[in-house]
């Protein structure tokens, strides 16, 4: 009886976790192409800035960031996939309650590559939630004869801490697409 109770409780927790995962942010519009011998990708994130806690955080003038991660991995049999390249792009927004303008910036691997100010939430959201034409890696880093490469992306929305101790990342699951031979 007690074992049955434990099993039912565990199943309930798993279902609850899965449903929570399904209702979270997600990757949208993932496309990739080879341009000038570079692997270029564009993708966005849905259900990120529309979250009430994110909205409240932005409107309280605190800086809020979205972290986009793109990786090219090589599949290996009976072994863990090998990460060929790892790109991290951080979009950060700061709201100015005096001018009611949003200052957004982009950091690629820690370096600020773009910074601008927009006037509306939609413009800010458009900027924040999308990555366009990100050069992930050079095709030189890929071995066409070996094949078996995938592009996978993930967007980290925010970090929560359960009971202020256990880190709990609100992020999308990895979304991957198999790369064809360049």
């Amino acid at each position: 009886m007690k074992a049955m109770r434990v099993i039912v409780l565990s199943a309930f927790m798993l279902v609850l976790g899965a449903s929570a995962q399904a209702a979270g942010p997600y990757v949208k519009g993932l496309v990739w192409s080879y341009q000038d011998r570079d692997l270029v990708t564009s993708f966005g994130v849905g259900d990120a800035l529309d979250r009430p806690d994110m909205k409240e955080a932005i409107m309280s003038t605190r800086p809020v960031s979205l972290t986009f991660t793109a990786e090219v991995v090589k599949h290996r049999t009976l072994w863990k996939d090998k990460v060929i390249t790892h790109e991290v792009i951080v979009h950060t927004v700061r709201y100015d309650n005096l001018t009611r303008q949003y200052t957004v910036e982009t950091k690629v691997n820690g370096d600020v590559t773009d910074k601008s100010t927009v006037a509306t939430w939609e413009e800010m959201a458009q900027y924040m939630e999308n990555i366009r034409d990100l050069h992930v890696t050079s095709v030189a880093n890929l071995q066409p004869s070996e094949g078996g490469y995938s592009l996978r992306v993930r967007v980290h929305v925010m970090s929560n801490f359960i009971l202020w101790i256990i880190p709990w990342d609100v992020q999308t699951p990895w979304v991957s697409q198999t790369l064809s031979t360049p």
């Binding site: 003038t61 309650n97 005096l98 009611r100 927009v118 929560n160 202020w164 101790i165």
Partner: protein, 701 residues
């Protein structure tokens, strides 16, 4: 190896857990720093409090669980003091936990209501209103700027495109605007006043050439400016800037900065609430932990010595008096433990003393029993009767010889011994005891077996301090001895009489033979011989007559009649005739108590002693007579200065017919001894006197 959770180990465990918690705290802080720009949860204080709370909860749960398990196991094993200890610990925990929980719950409600009040209060409305005011004023500036931009663009549309830059400069000179820039769609500035007015960037250009235009964009550098722009045509646009008044902008910035701070705080109100609750939770856990810790310590401090005491009392009740409680404390419980140890030690010592006393008593009892049996055997073996009585005269012991002498039947109560009429003489002997320590009598009893002669000796029984606790009566059947003595006395008397009679007979026979011879010879001196012979015969017959009279007198001693008399007066009346034969020295007290005696018999006894003294002194000697009282007796001493008594004769002096004098009958001192015996007194040789013969006469007063 068995790992015991001693206080030291427990502290080490706590320290390890604390280190783990600090490590975890640092890791989480690092994570928060990494996610600081994207998270709403970053709070060092909150994280620290959370870790502290978790640590305290773990320690508290561990301590509680440990104590509960220990209490449960002790209860299951029915260990002494477990129930009391568990109850004490529960009381301490509840005492610490209940107020803490009450305070904690109150604090939660108080914090909740206080924080809510903070953000629901007029401050919130004020912030909103002030922000609205700033927004409205900025909107007014925006609208004004946008209106001017549209008006400016309309005016510029009235001229051909090449003329527009110069017209713009001309209109700027009118002073209706603070700054302007005429730009092309590709971002080229055709005219600008002042020169510091920033060139519209790509975003602004896109807005300017959008259908709605650029409405009220605010640039903060180089100076606060509201910029609006519209397209003049599809290739040219105008951007108009309105400088914000410095004081207005300063106030607006001040308000917005404060509102920004307030908004940031409000966005963290949940964190603030939880931080405060966590602080109180930490405080509550600390107090509870302290209560549990102190409760555990105190319950152990109290219950352990109590458990020791309980075990000690059980050990003592099982008879183990050597059990000691090994517990060192300086408080009252320590005093109780010390008292218990002293008590058990004293009890043990007393028990050992008691056992030793019992052993000694048992040994003494066995010794006394052996002695009693020995004495009983001795008494039963003795050929004399022994009777002991208590101070009330009740018989305590009587041996079988006494039973035989007294003719007691088997089973007859011994209390009958002295109550029978025929045994009155024995009772009479005992009646004389209070006056004298020892009474010796010869009595004749008539029993069923005939007459018996008993030598009765009665003595007072005294304890070491002299208290009389009874009488001892010794009965000796001297019937046979007396008979033998009488026979021996008669034999001696016959021998002496034969001898004494033989002595006068020889001169008588010789005188008769001489007279017959003279008569037959008809000797001329017959008359002389006859005269001498008759004289001799007459003298010897007289001697024989004297002897016969003495015998007659010894045989016919009258019965003694005792009555009180003055012994000194009797002595004085007797000694007078003897002053002619000897020098009499009297030492008689003036006041001497009367003595019960027969004056005639006692006078005869004293005369016999004086005559003996006079007869043994060849010349006129001295006679010393003294009288004194000692121990209830009259002690009369008569000493002479004669030759004294040879030692070999001292034991036979008072036997009848013993004499050292040539013509003595040997009855004088025997008569003295008999008279004194009948008076309850005695006569003996004065052994201390060596100048002559001495006699001491004692008489009961």
């Amino acid at each position: 190896m068995k790992l015991r959770l001693t206080p030291r180990n427990f502290m080490i465990l706590i320290a390890c857990m604390g280190l783990l918690m600090v490590g975890g705290f640092l890791l989480v802080i690092r994570k928060e720093q990494e996610a600081a720009v994207v998270t709403s949860a970053g709070s060092f204080l909150l994280t620290g409090l959370a870790f502290l709370n978790v640590l305290l909860m773990m320690v508290l749960l561990f301590v509680l669980f440990r104590e509960l398990v220990k209490g449960f196991l002790a209860w299951r094993r029915q260990r002494e003091g477990a129930r009391f200890r568990t109850r004490l610990l529960t009381a301490f925990v509840l005492l610490g936990l209940l107020p803490s929980l009450l305070l904690f719950i109150s604090a939660i409600f108080l914090i909740g209501s206080t924080v809510d009040r903070w953000f629901r209060s007029p401050v919130n409305s004020l912030v909103t209103a002030s922000q609205t005011l700033v927004d409205k004023s900025m909107d007014m500036a925006r609208q004004e700027s946008y209106r001017k931009a549209k008006a400016f663009a309309w005016q510029l549309r009235q001229v051909s495109p090449p003329m527009r830059p110069s017209l713009a400069v001309h209109l700027y000179g009118g002073g209706d605007m603070d700054a302007f820039a005429v730009v092309t769609a590709d971002g080229k500035v055709l005219a600008r006043e002042p020169a510091s007015f920033p060139t519209p960037n790509e975003y602004k250009l896109a807005k300017i050439f959008s259908p709605q235009g650029l409405v009220g964009w605010i640039d903060l550098t180089p100076e606060p400016t509201v910029v609006s722009g519209v397209a003049i045509d599809k290739n040219m646009g105008i951007a108009v800037g309105e400088f914000l008044p410095q004081d207005l902008f300063k106030q607006a910035r001040y308000i917005s900065e404060n509102n920004k701070a307030y908004l940031q705080i409000r966005s963290r109100q949940q964190i603030l609430r939880i931080s405060m609750i966590s602080s109180f939770l930490a405080l509550t856990l600390l107090v509870t932990f302290a209560a549990v810790w102190i409760g555990t310590h105190l319950s152990r401090e109290i219950s352990i010595p109590l458990q020791f005491l309980l075990e000690g009392t059980q050990e003592v009740s099982r008879g183990n008096l050597s059990h000691r409680i090994d517990y060192d404390a300086r408080d009252e419980i320590g005093l109780v433990v010390d008292s218990f140890n002293r008590m058990t030690q004293e009890v043990e010592t007393s028990k050992l003393e008691l056992e030793r006393s019992n052993e000694e008593l048992r040994t003494t009892s066995e010794s006394l029993e052996r002695r009693r049996r020995y004495i009983e055997t001795l008494l039963e073996t003795l050929n004399i009767g022994v009777i002991s009585t208590d101070s009330e005269g009740r018989i305590r012991t009587i041996n079988s010889r006494a039973r035989n002498i007294l003719g007691l039947q088997p089973g007859e109560p011994v209390r009958n011994v002295l109550t029978r009429p025929e045994w009155n003489p024995i009772a009479a002997v005992l009646s004389g005891l209070p006056k004298r320590p020892v009474v010796n009598r010869e009595i004749t009893l008539s029993t069923g077996n005939g007459q018996i002669i008993l030598s009765v000796s009665a003595t007072l029984l005294k304890d070491p301090v002299g208290t009389v606790f009874g009488d001892l009566v010794i009965l000796e059947d001297i019937s046979d001895l007396s008979r033998a003595q009488r026979i021996a006395a008669w034999q001696e008397a016959a021998r002496r009489m034969a001898h004494e009679i033989k002595n006068p007979l020889t001169p008588i026979r010789l005188s008769a033979q001489r007279i017959r011879k003279k008569a037959m010879e008809k000797a001329p001196d017959l008359g002389d011989a006859l005269l001498e012979g008759c004289t001799t015969i007459e003298r010897e017959v007289q001697t024989m007559m004297t002897m016969v009279n003495e015998f007659s007198r010894f045989a016919r001693l009258p019965e003694i009649r005792l009555k009180p008399a003055s012994l000194p007066a009797l002595i004085r009346s007797i000694v007078t005739p003897y002053r002619t034969a000897a020098e009499i020295h009297l030492d008689l007290p003036a006041n001497f108590p009367p003595v019960r005696l027969d004056t005639e018999q006692m006078g005869r006894a004293i005369k016999n002693l004086l005559e003996n003294a006079v007869q043994v002194m060849e010349e006129r000697g001295d006679i010393f007579i003294s009288l004194r009282e000692a121990e209830g007796h009259a002690v009369l001493s008569i000493r002479d200065t004669g030759p004294g008594i040879p030692p070999e004769n001292k034991s036979r002096l008072f036997a009848p017919y013993f004499s050292t004098k040539r013509k003595g009958t040997g009855l004088g001192l025997a008569i003295v001894a008999r008279i004194l015996e009948e008076h309850g007194g005695a006569v003996r040789v004065d052994e201390d006197y060596t100048e002559g013969a001495g006699f001491i006469v004692t008489l009961p007063i």
